[in-house]
Each structure stands twice: as C-alpha cells, then as structure tokens.
Symmetry: C2
Subunit: 351 residues, 2 copies
DNA sequence: CGTAAATATGGACGCGTGTAAAAAAGGGAG
DNA sequence: CTCCCTTTTTTACACGCGTCCATATTTACG
C-alpha cells in the first residue's frame, strides 16, 4: 500500500520517438517488442535501460495491422452468468496463454444477433482462430458457415447436429449421462429424466442418452420438463417449477430423478425441500436427485448434490490445442476431429 | 435449421477493392461504414446493393488506427467465476452497448500481474476509458496510477482507500451492511459477523460497517473468520470451515450470523446443516444466517437465504455513464465523483 | 432555365508499425 | 592489416482506413 511515489516518466507514443530517445533504430525496436531475443544483447540492454526511463507501450492496432498472425483467438460463449461456462472460459484462457495466444471473449447472451455480431468482429479483427460454444436451435448457422470459411474454427461444449465438418471438443454425453442413468437405476428404482425445453443441443443429447441407456437396461424411460412452466426460463426456476407441480400431484416423490444439468437439479432440490422431501435419504421413500456438470456449488448444497463431472480443464485445453493445430495447418488428418471426454460420477448425498 | 444454402459470395478484403467492385469512391465507403447517413441516399443504395453481392467487413485494426475515438471501453474484473461479477459485467455491457460503446473485458484472476498486463493492453489499444473493479491489497496501485494519468478511469464495486481522486461507483456498505446488522439485531440476538481474511476492500468496509452499526446500537460486536482455516480460500469453503469449527465447539449455534457475502453464507448454511441446525427456524434455538449481495441462487437454497441486495444494474449503468462523462469531458465538477447505491433487504427464510 | 448555396465526392496525405532488401558496422581468423 | 561473415541499421514500402480539402454534383430558389 505504501508504494514509494515513483516520478512520472516522460511518455512516448511512437516507436519513432522512442528510437530517437534511446538511440536504437526503429526496426530494431520493432523486433525487440516482438521477441527480445531477436536483437543483440547489447541492443537489448540499451533498450531495456531506456525503457526504465520513459513510458512507452506499442500501439496495439498498429502492431496487428501488417502482421500475418495477430496472436489472438476469439471465444464465443452463450452465457456468462453460468459457472460452468466461466470454468470453461478459464480453462481456455489458461491453455491459450500458455500457448502464447491471447483470447478475446464475446458473450452472446444467448442472442443469435449478438452471436452473429461477435463472429463479424472476430473476422474483422483477423483473429487467428475462433472457439465457439454455440447456442441451441436459435443459433444462426449461416454465421458459423461464414466463420468456418474464413478462419480456423472449433466448436466446444455443444455441437449442432448439422455441422458435421467442424471439429468438436466436448463431453461424451452418451457415456456421461449413461453413467448417471445406470448409477441411479442400480441404487434406486428406474430413474426419470428432468429435461428442459428443447432449445439446446446438449440438453437434447443428454435426453437421448438417457433414453438410450434406459432401453439398454430394459427399463421404461420417462422424460418430464420439456414444456415451459410459468414462463420460468432460468434453469433453477424451471427445475423447481416442474418438480413442484409434480410433487403437488403426489408424483415422483419416491423416484430417482436425473436432471439435465446441475442448475436444474438445484431447482429440483429446492422443490423437494419445499415439499418436505429429503433426496438421498431412504427413510422418506427413496427420492433421489442427481445432476450433470459438477457445478462448483454442489458440495455446499443441502443435501450435497450427486452429479457427473465434465472434465472442463481437459476440454478447454484440447479445444485450444485443436484450434492451434488448425491454425498452424498441423492437422494430422484433413477430416473432422471430434474429441469427447468422459464424465466422472461425483457421489454425494442427494442420490 | 433448414437454411436455404446461399451461394458463397466473393470475398473482398479491402475498401479499395470494394470501391472498385461497386463503383463508389473509397472515402465514401469509409463514411458509409461509420454512419450510413453520412452519404447521399443514392450512394447508400448503391453500396447496400453491392454489399449484397460481395462479402466484406472493414478491418477492425485499420479502422481504429487513425481515429480520435476507438469507441471501446475496457473493463477489468477480478473473477469470472463469481455470479456477482458476471451480473455486474452484464449490466455494464448493456449500458455500454446502449451508449454506443463496445466493451473489452479482461479478467485478472485476482493476479496483480495479470491486472497490470490488462491495463497495459488497454492503454495500447487506446480505449476511450476504463472501468476497474480492483483487487484487494495485492492490487498494484502503480498500475492504476498510470492508467489514471493516461485515460478516463472509473473504479467500480470496490474502492482502494488510498485512491481518493478517482471516481467511484458502488454500494454504500455503511448503509447496506448496517441495514442487515440492524435487522438481525431486531429480530434476533446481537449478530456476529462472519468475515474473510482481510485482503479485499469490500470485505473490510463491510466489517467496519458492522462494527460501527453495533456500536451505534450499543451492542458488543464480534467478528470471526478473519483467519484462514485449512488453506480454504474459496469463499464457500471458508464460510463452511469457520462455522464448522465454531459449531463443533458448541459456539454460536443460537446466534444471528451476518456473513460478509452470500458465497460465504452458502458455506455457513452448509455448516449449519451439517450440524443439524436449521437457520431461521426458532425451534432450534434461533440460529440465523444472512448474507450480502443477493446471489442469484439465494432463492433456491435451503433455507432460502436472507440477504441484502446490491443494485447491480444501477451500479453498472452509473459506472458507464460516469465514465462516458469523463470521456466527453462533460463532468459537472472537476472533483471526485462518488456514487453509492443503497442495498435492499431481501427477507427470506434463513434469518 | 440560370445561379448561388448546400452537399457529396474523390485525391492526397497521414496513422504507427511490420518487413524486406540494401548498406553499414562489428568481429574473428588468417 | 585484410578479408569474409554476422548483426545491425537504413531505406523504402506496405498495411487498410480516417480525414482534410479542393472539386464535382445536387438542390433551392427566383
């Protein structure tokens, strides 16, 4: 807190002036700022000495103007107010930083128009590549087409069925949701599936995975929550509203309920509590609630939420790696790369 | 989903070529892209007609090079994995968008070095101004000094005590925390304060506000949780660890507990549940737990969390407005602007 | 239809840096 | 000391577009 008050350094705003100020040619300065190793040791020392005495930062735009690679990758995500996406974003940022890229993030707020604008911005910025966690059905596919035709481009987390030529990194929902389904079927009765209105690719994929696994197990599948109740379209509110309605009719109070994701499960837990039900505890009839994603708050809920964790760090890193391979033209095969990571059960108290 | 397959438009990558392609001079195109109203109707129609036939987006960097205003404001926030900051960010983005500015966000991950780099980046990008939610004690104040001397600059959410000349927009913690303190003192016994290690300005401000209010009420204040337990430094884990330790000693089980923020309160609720305590319910001795911020999940916790809500939307909008006034030199008075918004009690079940 | 005023347009220059090629400087071996 | 090779500097041009200013075009008005 008690910083020694450094004297204000004189400000220099072009390399030209800096060159004059410290007696090194401008091209040499240019090379120095791109990579200090590219100039001789003597020049480097002189430059660093000079930088101690004056205030200068290269102009961001000018440096990116006439350069083959901007060293930036664009990331589009649908929500920011979802801890799953913030975790994914952190993983991506970390991986990108280590690879020497800086990321520029745009949040679409789940609005196709904003998503489109973000894509335009990325193209006009000559980003080296883009990572996109697409919206659901409302996503404007023409935008993605244009993006793809102009720059390296990898989908993350959620994959539109129709885009079969774009690389994709995400979770193997057949495996992860299957895992949870199987677990619930084993420890309790046949699980039902608490879904969402079908506007999101992942949600649909998980629903299908549940149905497939139930079929495999020879059990009858039952999906609820595909209709919107009470105009609630926040995940937690949706889960709560759907289950509250069901519990009020006395239904499903002793069943195993697999929720499409943890945020819906949080609402489900709340509905259970409101009806005096204690998920996971056998004494009140065997109600079980499980989620998907391993939301950071799961261990702090009451009861703690059993869920299947996505390998977010691996997904983020693989996405960046894959994108960079595309950028450098190092792709091993020309065909579509699809990398799916497995989910891991997190056994807690709710199921 | 079933988009008609549009033919791929020929791509044009400079205004020069575009000019040749549609028979309008380049300067006219330049004006058109800045504001379509700045060219004659005939030219506008010709341009728009041409744009239908070819694919072109102006180069982001080139457009910002030789222009007085870049139309961008930089935002630095400490965390992304905190729903309070994502809400604040959304409010800021919305306000900025409406004012015609685009925002570029950098997350410091609570690392002073990254914070410093973000500030450098903003300066090198010639952003019109910056909005900073600073870190705590570790924040590098010299960086902020440099930022301030180079561009319009407003602090949000959290205010370093030493920076008395920078505009600040945030919550009036004396009022908001005082409100919660008073409420708890009224409905239950004298509240204690569950704090955090003292590394964050807001946390310290709230702690002080609590102490002051208690003094005003003639009650004895008691603060716990200023020491780090078990290396837990996530907010929820901290709250849980501190209260778990206390409850294990049989302490505070029938007290009112005001938590420094909702994330700590979530951990506190969990600790209570783990010890079979039901906050808010009188029957088990009058344990009460309240938080601060109105985290979006509060209504879905069990019990629902009583808290005091910050006016996030107002803060975001006021911050943008204040920054823009600074940018345009429209500030009414040359002295520091400080705008504090009041908190509002959200009475729920936990207290 | 003619003329002055208003407006739109195009030519020229500049923005701050990257980069290639040519010229100069430095460094070592003989 | 000379010659050759490696770095560095110079010189020059390029990047794509903003903006000024002189000129061409349109509009308004009589």
């Amino acid at each position: 807190m008690s910083e020694t008050q450094k004297p204000v350094k004189p400000r220099i705003d072009t390399m030209e002036h800096l060159s004059a100020a410290i007696g090194v040619s401008r091209p040499t300065l240019s090379r120095y700022f791109q990579d200090p190793e590219r100039v001789s040791r003597t020049s480097r020392e002189r430059i660093e000495q000079g930088l101690e005495r004056v205030e200068y930062v290269p102009n961001f735009f000018a440096t990116r103007m006439n350069r083959a690679s901007t060293g930036m990758i664009g990331v589009i995500i649908p929500y920011l107010n979802d801890l799953f996406f913030s975790r994914l974003l952190e993983a991506i940022e970390l991986a990108a930083m280590e690879a020497g890229y800086s990321v520029i993030t745009k949040c679409s707020h789940s609005d196709p128009a904003i998503e489109a604008r973000a894509a335009e911005t990325f193209m006009s910025m000559n980003v080296d590549g883009a990572l996109v966690a697409p919206l659901g059905n409302h996503s404007d596919l023409t935008v993605h087409e244009r993006l793809r035709s102009r720059l390296p481009f990898v989908m993350v987390d959620s994959q539109p069925e129709v885009m079969t030529e774009v690389d994709f990194i995400g979770t193997d929902h057949m495996q992860s949701t299957g895992l949870a389904t199987e677990y619930l079927a084993r420890v309790g009765g046949p699980p039902i599936f608490l879904a969402m209105p079908r506007v999101n690719f992942n949600a649909m994929a998980r629903e299908r995975a549940y149905v497939a696994k139930m079929e495999e197990l020879g059990l009858e599948s039952e999906v609820i929550g595909t209709e919107l109740i009470n105009d609630h379209w926040h995940f937690e509110a949706h889960g709560m509203a759907v289950l509250d309605a069901e519990f009020s009719k006395g239904r499903f109070t002793d069943r195993s309920i697999l929720c499409v994701n943890d945020r819906v499960a949080i609402g489900a837990l709340k509905a259970a509590a409101a009806h005096g039900l204690e998920p996971g505890a056998m004494r009140k009839g065997g109600l079980r609630i499980a989620g998907h994603d391993d939301y950071p708050l799961c261990p702090f809920l009451t009861p703690t939420l059993t869920t299947v964790a996505q390998n977010v760090d691996a997904i983020g890193e693989a996405a960046v790696t894959c994108l960079i391979e595309n950028i450098r033209g190092e792709k091993s095969s020309p065909e579509q790369t699809v990398k799916l990571f497995e989910g891991v059960m997190k056994m807690r108290n709710s199921a």
